[in-house]
Symmetry: C2
Subunit: 488 residues, 2 copies
Amino acid sequence: MDQNHPQNRAERECLTLQAQIKDFHAAQALLSWDLETLMPPAGYQARAEVTATLAETAHTLLVGPKAQELASSLLASQDPVTKVFLRDHARALRLPASLVAKQARVAGLAHEAWLAARDNNSWALFAPHLEETLQLKREEAELLGYEGNRYDALLEGYEPGLTVAALQELFGALRVASLALIAEFGIEAASTKTSAPVSSLAQIDQVVQLALARKVLALLGLDQSNSRLDLSVHPFCSSIHQGDIRVTTRIQSADWRVCFYSVLHEAGHALYESGFAPDLYRTLAADGASYGMHESQALFWENCLGRSLPFCQYLSQALPALGDGFTLFRQTNTFAKSLIRTEADELTYNLHIILRFELELALLDGSLSVKDLPEAWNEGMQSALGLTPPDHLHGCLQDIHWAHGSFGYFPSYTLGRLYAASLWESIPDFSEGILGGDLTAVKAWLAEHIHRHGRTMLPAQLMGGLGLSLSAEPFLGQVREKLVTINS
Amino acid sequence: MDQNHPQNRAERECLTLQAQIKDFHAAQALLSWDLETLMPPAGYQARAEVTATLAETAHTLLVGPKAQELASSLLASQDPVTKVFLRDHARALRLPASLVAKQARVAGLAHEAWLAARDNNSWALFAPHLEETLQLKREEAELLGYEGNRYDALLEGYEPGLTVAALQELFGALRVASLALIAEFGIEAASTKTSAPVSSLAQIDQVVQLALARKVLALLGLDQSNSRLDLSVHPFCSSIHQGDIRVTTRIQSADWRVCFYSVLHEAGHALYESGFAPDLYRTLAADGASYGMHESQALFWENCLGRSLPFCQYLSQALPALGDGFTLFRQTNTFAKSLIRTEADELTYNLHIILRFELELALLDGSLSVKDLPEAWNEGMQSALGLTPPDHLHGCLQDIHWAHGSFGYFPSYTLGRLYAASLWESIPDFSEGILGGDLTAVKAWLAEHIHRHGRTMLPAQLMGGLGLSLSAEPFLGQVREKLVTINS
């Protein structure tokens, strides 16, 4: 290859630019991880300023004169990493810095108002902020451009390649089938009956809980040499940069499942982040193919593998105090209708998501007004699960996403669950290894087919490479099988 | 004030630029703190890249076109903060980015070679790196410019306003007086006799050690709301930004003094960092007046106040297991000749510094060659303390400073001790408060006279404001008094 050919020189310069941008992302990741885990509270205001300065600088690098010059000389590049750069550059260029800054300011105030609204069970306290947020999101969508639905422009930021039309069809079928399963297996509301009550076996000492969490992280190759496990209010995974992946968890009373499955979930994200091909590091391609695909990796480990019978049998051997494998399987697969998304089981969870997706769509196109949202929410919950929230905290004020302006994010959760089920169906049978606590083959398979590609392939391409397409069928089949087993 | 006057507009823009630069410094401080305390080892290489990118960006902001435009329109400004900016801008502008980058690379390799040289007791392994480092420091000094000695150009970066000529006079007198005190009080080598042997009273449980450390931090107003205390190999203080000051310490066996006095030392740095006037935050003036002045604040708390009889009496009341106040005073004020700078007592410590200063001076002007350094070191140690290092680890390879290219840094330690003694002499008598564990008056006095000014006043101006000048007399008088007391 001629290193001095203008095209090659531009590609090299583009890699240098991307490395700088990724270095900023790494610093931002650490600032944010630290804020969630360790920072003294008096540091908040100054930390916000530091974060804003770094974000602004990274944005300037992505859209500045050098980036524009490189983008125009690389317009026809077929290099997969360069194509990711061009995609991000083009999208960022459409959004003026003034709009981005205004959205950040509005989100800050909306976050505060959301907290106050929750404390006071008052939709009116939050409504004007949501109205302003929506107006800015509409503006953003118009600037970004779209072909079908305005929501498509926002969805592209989370799930590139997917459209509202496709999502409506998918979610419609999933909703019908989910309601049918709920009826068939007589799944009831959590308050009246849980399908597997928390037995005394679920009560495990905190120190043992953390030791168990560390053990499963070590099985996945995440140890103190390349990762950390810390505590935070909400569990999350933060990839600072290669060689430094940080998982957090929480200990909720003595119920070991909260800590354990949080860790397994975040470990799924961590494996994705640590599995990109080496030549993708310090490029914009070193990230998940989409929010849905990233979530799929977390849900694969948490739900598909982590709540499978072979893995429950392994867990039971590793820590006999948890009870026998089948009891464990029942304890970790419980189904009940409930009001809070983050506490829902894997079947009813998607109905929470579908409701939010439909409300977002209606809010964005103006067919639903902000003031009417609580009523629409409650009607939706009644129609989906036969439940009515006693207050907004258990209803339309439960999630932070809208306060942050993250319209288009919610579908990622269900998409992740569907992708995960498809992958679980097509992965070779590694049950024997799993029974013995050997997860290396599973990890290697995911690394080969998903992780190493980073963002160089779209979700549909990754799935297509495995002969799969986006579908609810594998998920529905697996949940039915679980329901049959636990009810046998 | 006319906000639109060009001068005022430029000053405002200059504050915005400084805020950006300081935000980068804050991010760098966190990256570095995290590396020393928490980072998984596999993260080193990527972390180095992130740090380099941020450092380069911050440097570019300080010397870039905008900074140059502001500097030329503000050249005659009398605003104290603007003057600090102009000083930093002018100094940074004289150093080409290529030299700075080369120095960073050479320092990286020199650091590695220094570690290998220590492991192999081989000066030859380190010598070529020191030679290259020196050549770059000479180049740097020439670019920076100086009037008297080439070393002045480097000293200015640590102790602005001080010259080699003044330092030689000061250190010469300090050396003579120190040797006289050593002779008068029969201070011997640590290996043959320690003036106060470590009694069983010095053995305190680790948990109690940390609780004691937290207690003294709380007395100083440093608690979990605005600061952290963590463990690291070498204790340090890192000020991320206002509201977030981080002190680290180490626990060395059961000798509580190591942990306690490390914390008190670093707390002194922390108080300085948290005491700048509010309008200095996010400006380049939010830092110590000099390295020596910063060190003075640490040594004031560690040695002047922390090893004073009233404070020992307070400690003894707070934790009776430590023994009575006078025993404690003897235990915390021990004097013995030794080979390692960081383990030296406060009297012989300065002889270690003076030796290094003289060697640096000779290396920089070429009158001492790198290959002859070990011999010169050993002769110096023999002449100052009558000791000869058994190997380079206990001799010329004990400090990391030269590997990092920090020529001109060593004098700061002794200057800090001298400043601290002068301040201790002129501070009102707060013994009664100290006896009761009330340190607020001491803290307030330092904040008023030193901290709040940040870098807007040079060390000589700060001292001058108190009617003081740089002198070894207060220090020598205080040490003599201690020697008399502990030998009584």
